[in-house]
Each structure stands twice: as structure tokens, then as C-alpha cells.
């Protein structure tokens, strides 16, 4: 860090104004603005009246306009989405609950199955281990879309269609999770294992009280990425759910969009904000794990 500032000051001494660096910042700032403007637009529009959104009135509030902040867009959007009779609450909260239940269970399931499998791969002598590892590797070659129809038929046959099982269980395993954790586990010095064994700790005890705490960054990365992906999933939930009470947020938003939301833009923006903003806040606090996890593994959803 200090070295870079040093070379920079040296450069600045020679050239009072560095056009090259100025150009770099201009390009980066433009790029960053393009990345962020749609979010800003979405949140601003969610506080405008329908008329101001349509008229592209960028700032209809004080001091340039007379319109008050339309906080009412949010409750209005929630009531417009509809009502869930089974849980006796606005559908929006049902969507939110479904998304949280589904994503939460997927994260819990994925972390559990990946940890157990990775531990076995890293520490236990099992005949046929390399064959199983190859089998797991091979599943990476099978694209999700290829097996869409048979999986849908399976959901009918299992009586999982339009149920939480269909939304959760097929996704409680992650090949990348197993890989990443196995790599992590293998870096832990073998001496620790021997020491724990002498102390009388079995495998599960060792896994729980030594391996898992030491692998916290990898576990958090897997949990976060799986959470974001399942929060984002749309095609599968659209296929395997029928009732509005079983929809997740993404499907709910799409259904709103093809219905009323397509015309009531200000409400659609409020709905979209309610879907996106929690994820963004979540991301701001945990971004280190995201970017590091992705840079390390090259995982893509």
C-alpha cells in the first residue's frame, strides 16, 4: 500500500496532471454509474406517483417539485398483490415466507450434505472413493435444463408438485460445495487429527469442534452463494408450483408483472425494491465472502 502511494507521488511530481489516470477514473466512474443507475431509478420511482413515473419526472419532490414522498406505494403494492386465505395474510408476506423457508432449507441442506461428504472424502478411507468422486464430477457435465422435463415428471410422481419438497429437496446438494470444502479440509494439518484421536475424539466430534470452526470462511461462502442462487431461482419454482400460496418472491413478482404490475409501474417498482433491497443490504455486509468465494472457485449460478 505504502509503496503504491510512494510511486504515485513520485509520478505526480513529474507530471502535475496525469491524463492517463484521469481517463481511467472517467471510464470506471461511467461504468459504475451504469451499474448503479437502474437501482437508483427503481428505488426513486417506488416513491413517486404513477404520473411522475410515466412523465419521467426525475425529482418530483421538494425542492424541485411539490409531490410528497409516496410511501403509500408500498402498502398499496402489498394489497394489490392479493390476499392469502390459507395463512390469512397478504400474499406478499406469503411469498416472502416461502422464499425464506425455501432458501433457508436449501442453505441448511446444502451445507450439511456438502460438509459430511467433503469430510469423508478428505479423512476417511472408503473403498471406491475415487470412483464416487468421479461420479460427482460427472454431474457437472449435466446441464440443469437437460433434465427439466424428467424432473418435473418425477415431482408429479413423488406427489411433490406444488409442495415445498419440490422447491427444496432437489437442491440440497452442491458439487461445488463438496469440492470447496474438501479442498479446505485437506489443508488442515494432519497432526490436529492425530492429536484429537489421542484425546479420544471420534470423527463427528473432530468434524464439529475442529474442522468446521477452521473452515468457517468456506462454509459462509457456500451458505451465502446458495442463498443468493435459491433466492434468484425462477424457472423451476414457476414450473413446479400452481397455487399462488406456494409462489416464491421471484414468481410472485413475475405474476404481478403480467397482471396489474405491468400497468401500475410505480407499484411494480415498489414490489421490485422489496425483493432487491434486502438482498443488496445483505450483500453489503457480506461482500468480502462473495467476491473472495467467487474469485477462488469461479462458481457461477
Amino acid at each position: 500500500m505504502s509503496e503504491s502511494t510512494l510511486s504515485q507521488t513520485r509520478k505526480n511530481e513529474r507530471h502535475p496532471f496525469n491524463w492517463g489516470r484521469f481517463f481511467i477514473y472517467v471510464v470506471l466512474v461511467i461504468g459504475a454509474l451504469v451499474s448503479v443507475i437502474p437501482f437508483v431509478y427503481m428505488v426513486l420511482s417506488s416513491f413517486k406517483s404513477y404520473g411522475s413515473v410515466i412523465a419521467n419526472n426525475f425529482w418530483p419532490w421538494w425542492p424541485f417539485g411539490t409531490e410528497p414522498l409516496q410511501f403509500s406505494n408500498y402498502p398499496e403494492a402489498i394489497t394489490d398483490i392479493g390476499f392469502d386465505k390459507t395463512w390469512n395474510m397478504p400474499l406478499f408476506f406469503r411469498y416472502l415466507a416461502n422464499s425464506l423457508i425455501v432458501s433457508g432449507c436449501i442453505v441448511l441442506g446444502t451445507v450439511t450434505t456438502s460438509t459430511l461428504a467433503a469430510y469423508a472424502f478428505a479423512y476417511i478411507k472408503v473403498p471406491g472413493k475415487s470412483l464416487m468422486f468421479l461420479l460427482i464430477l460427472a454431474t457437472l457435465m449435466i446441464p440443469n435444463d437437460l433434465t427439466l422435463v424428467p424432473k418435473l415428471v418425477m415431482m408429479y410422481n413423488f406427489k411433490w408438485y406444488n409442495n415445498y419438497q419440490a422447491l427444496i429437496i432437489p437442491f440440497t446438494v452442491s458439487v461445488f460445495g463438496i469440492f470447496l470444502l474438501r479442498q479446505y479440509f485437506m489443508q488442515i494439518p494432519k497432526d490436529l487429527f492425530d492429536a484429537a484421536k489421542i484425546d479420544g475424539a471420534g470423527h463427528l466430534r473432530y468434524l464439529w469442534s475442529i474442522v468446521m470452526p477452521l473452515s468457517k470462511p468456506a462454509l459462509i461462502t457456500i451458505a451465502l452463494l446458495n442463498f443468493i442462487w435459491s433466492w434468484d431461482s425462477f424457472k423451476w419454482p414457476l414450473l413446479v408450483t400452481r397455487d399462488s400460496s406456494m409462489r416464491v418472491l421471484a414468481v410472485g413478482l413475475q405474476q404481478f408483472l403480467v397482471g396489474e404490475g405491468g400497468t401500475k409501474i410505480h407499484l411494480m417498482m415498489a414490489f421490485a425494491s422489496m425483493v432487491v433491497v434486502p438482498v443488496l443490504i445483505f450483500y453489503f455486509f457480506t461482500q468480502k465472502y462473495f467476491t473472495e468465494g467467487i474469485a477462488k472457485t469461479g462458481i457461477k449460478g
Binding site: 437502474p38 450439511t112 469430510y119 476417511i124 433434465t147 421471484a250 421490485a272 474469485a295
Partner: protein
């Protein structure tokens, strides 16, 4: 029967065929299998089995169950289905344009970010935001940004004096539109990809550039700094450094991203479904949309299963060719 010597008690009791040590090994192995079981079973049930079940479905006349075995009839139908080929063409166009645009932009921005800029973390975070966002929500917002009458993009264009466009609703090719502005009529084959498809590509680029930047930054960080110093001593600078040091040494990263992005473009679905639903007409009906519609709108289970395999085979062939062509130019150290 020989007499049992006291010492043999502590040796392998051959009678049972297994020693205490082997017992322990078996117990250990069983425990290992138990740990592996959940993951392996899930993968077998939801990855491998569907592969074969899907083949079976594709060879059936399917009405809740296999009504009649029809062999490869669906595949024959798929190969002679012009809509299938059209959807593949749209997918290929989408892929061929968006992959270089995404990677090029990602590389340029990553390279600029790598020049020890201030606020690297903030820039990276901002570029990464679109990738982290729920696709349905950002696609819905973008669909409105593209709105021809009141969208932000046409509004911005009118500010700088450009005419508004129909964006997602425009089936005309972009070359034809460009030529049209100077009054030049173009033949249909030279019209180029529709503006609707280009609009989708703009959105995709917006989403994935941040991901590419993060991966490229990782790759750039792995290039040893001494190489640059050595090249500078030899008199190389600026573009030469980029061309002869960065690009070759970054090629494994680029190749990885290339494969990932091509596969990604072939399975692209969510944002297309939200923004255009494959329209207008079939201007943006990619194979993923076409297969989905065959399944959901028409309920043709076995046909869409067969289509999935056909598309998969095409992608596989393309990936192999890509491996052959691009793979030979990758520099591994």
C-alpha cells in the same frame, strides 16, 4: 486342529477371516459411506436418474405415463422442425454477440481497476451489484427502462437529440436500421440481429460484467509483477505490456470465462422470459424459451425432452470445437 498358543490370541483370528483391524476398517468405511450417502443419493436421484428417465420420456408418447413407445420419432421431428432451428440460430446469435462484448468489457474494466486505483473495493462492489440482484426484479426494471414511450433510455436519447427506439419491441435488424438512417435499403439477409435481441444482450452484459471483472481481477493478481518489471527493463510499455505479458498470462482465466459464459448464454432464460417472453413474434425465442413453451404452453412433454437433448448435443459439439480452437492458444505456465 492345532493347539492354540497363548500368543496367537493377539494375532489374526484366521478362523473368522477378519482381524480386529479389518473390523475397524470396515466400521470406518461404513461410517464413510454414511457420510457420503446423502450427497451421493441426491445426485443419483436428481442428476443421473433424470438423464435416463428423460431419454425414456423423449422416446414415448407421454400422457402422464408412457402411452406408446415411439423410438426416435421425436428426434426426427426435432431435426425437421424449422422453429427449433430458428431458436438455435437466435441462441447462437445471442451467444456470439454477448460473449465477446461481456468478456471484452470485463477485461478492460478489470485491467483499469488493476492500475492501483483508489476506491477499488467500492468500484468492485458497484460493478458486482447487478450480478447479485434477483434477476426477475432487475429484468422487470430494465424492461421499463427500455419502454418506448416513457422509458429512461429513450428519454436520455431525446435529451441528446436522438430519436426514440422500440428496443425490446423492435424486430428490425440493427444493420438495416443503421443503413435506414442514411436511406440505404439492405437485403433481408444482411439486416443483422433484431434490436430486441440486442436489448437483451445489453441487459445480460450489465448483469455479468461484474462477475467477469471479479474473476479477471483474480487472474491479474496471479501474474508475477517481476515479469512486468523485466519487460519494462527491455523497453516495453503500455499496450505492449498488455499485449505480450497480460493477455497471454491471463489466457487460462479468459478461457475459463469463455467456456462458462458460452454455457451461460445457452441456458439464459429468466430475463428473456420476463422482458420479451420470446417476442415480438419469434425474434427473441431462444432454444431455452422454445423448449419451455413446448412444455408449458403445449404440454408436449416428450417432444421438449427430445429438444433438450438435441440442444445439448449442439452445445456439446460447440464446446468441443471451442476447446480445440481456443484451447490451443491458452498459455499454461
Amino acid at each position: 486342529m492345532t493347539a492354540v498358543s497363548p500368543g496367537s490370541l493377539y494375532q489374526t483370528p484366521k478362523k473368522f477371516g477378519l482381524s480386529i483391524r479389518t473390523w475397524r476398517q470396515i466400521k470406518e468405511a461404513l461410517f464413510g459411506y454414511a457420510l457420503l450417502a446423502p450427497a451421493i443419493i441426491l445426485l443419483l436421484v436428481f442428476e443421473f436418474y433424470p438423464l435416463f428417465f428423460g431419454m425414456y420420456i423423449s422416446m414415448c408418447e407421454w400422457k402422464l405415463t408412457c402411452v406408446k413407445f415411439i423410438g426416435l420419432a421425436n428426434y426426427a421431428k426435432a431435426f425437421s422442425d424449422p422453429a427449433m432451428w430458428h431458436s438455435l440460430l437466435i441462441t447462437a446469435t445471442y451467444s456470439v454477440i454477448s460473449v465477446p462484448v461481456q468478456l471484452g468489457l470485463g477485461l478492460v474494466l478489470a485491467y483499469l481497476l488493476f492500475q492501483k486505483v483508489r476506491g477499488l473495493a467500492i468500484f468492485r462492489m458497484m460493478f458486482f451489484m447487478p450480478y447479485i440482484t434477483t434477476t426477475v426484479a432487475s429484468a422487470a426494471v430494465w424492461a421499463y427502462l427500455f419502454n418506448p414511450t416513457s422509458g429512461l433510455i429513450n428519454e436520455a436519447m431525446s435529451v441528446i437529440g436522438l430519436p426514440g427506439l422500440k428496443w425490446l419491441g423492435e424486430t428490425k435488424g440493427i444493420f438495416a436500421m443503421l443503413a435506414g438512417t442514411v436511406g440505404l435499403p439492405l437485403p433481408a439477409w444482411a439486416a443483422g440481429p433484431s434490436l430486441a435481441l440486442i436489448s437483451l444482450i445489453i441487459y445480460t452484459t450489465w448483469v455479468f460484467v461484474g462477475y467477469d471483472i471479479v474473476i479477471f481481477l483474480g487472474g491479474l493478481g496471479n501474474i508475477p509483477g517481476e515479469l512486468y518489471d523485466a519487460a519494462k527493463v527491455d523497453g516495453a510499455e503500455g499496450w505492449q505490456l498488455f499485449r505480450y505479458i497480460t493477455l497471454p498470462l491471463l489466457s487460462p482465466t479468459t478461457f475459463f470465462l469463455l467456456i462458462i459464459t458460452v454455457i451461460g448464454t445457452f441456458k439464459a432464460f429468466n430475463h428473456i422470459y420476463i422482458m420479451t417472453m420470446g417476442g415480438p413474434g419469434d425474434a427473441t425465442t431462444t432454444s431455452s424459451i422454445y423448449i419451455f413453451n413446448q412444455l408449458v404452453v403445449y404440454g408436449r412433454y416428450s417432444y421438449s425432452a427430445a429438444l433438450s437433448f438435441v440442444v445439448f448435443i449442439v452445445i456439446l459439439a460447440l464446446t468441443i470445437i471451442q476447446n480445440k480452437v481456443a484451447g490451443s492458444r491458452v498459455v499454461y505456465d
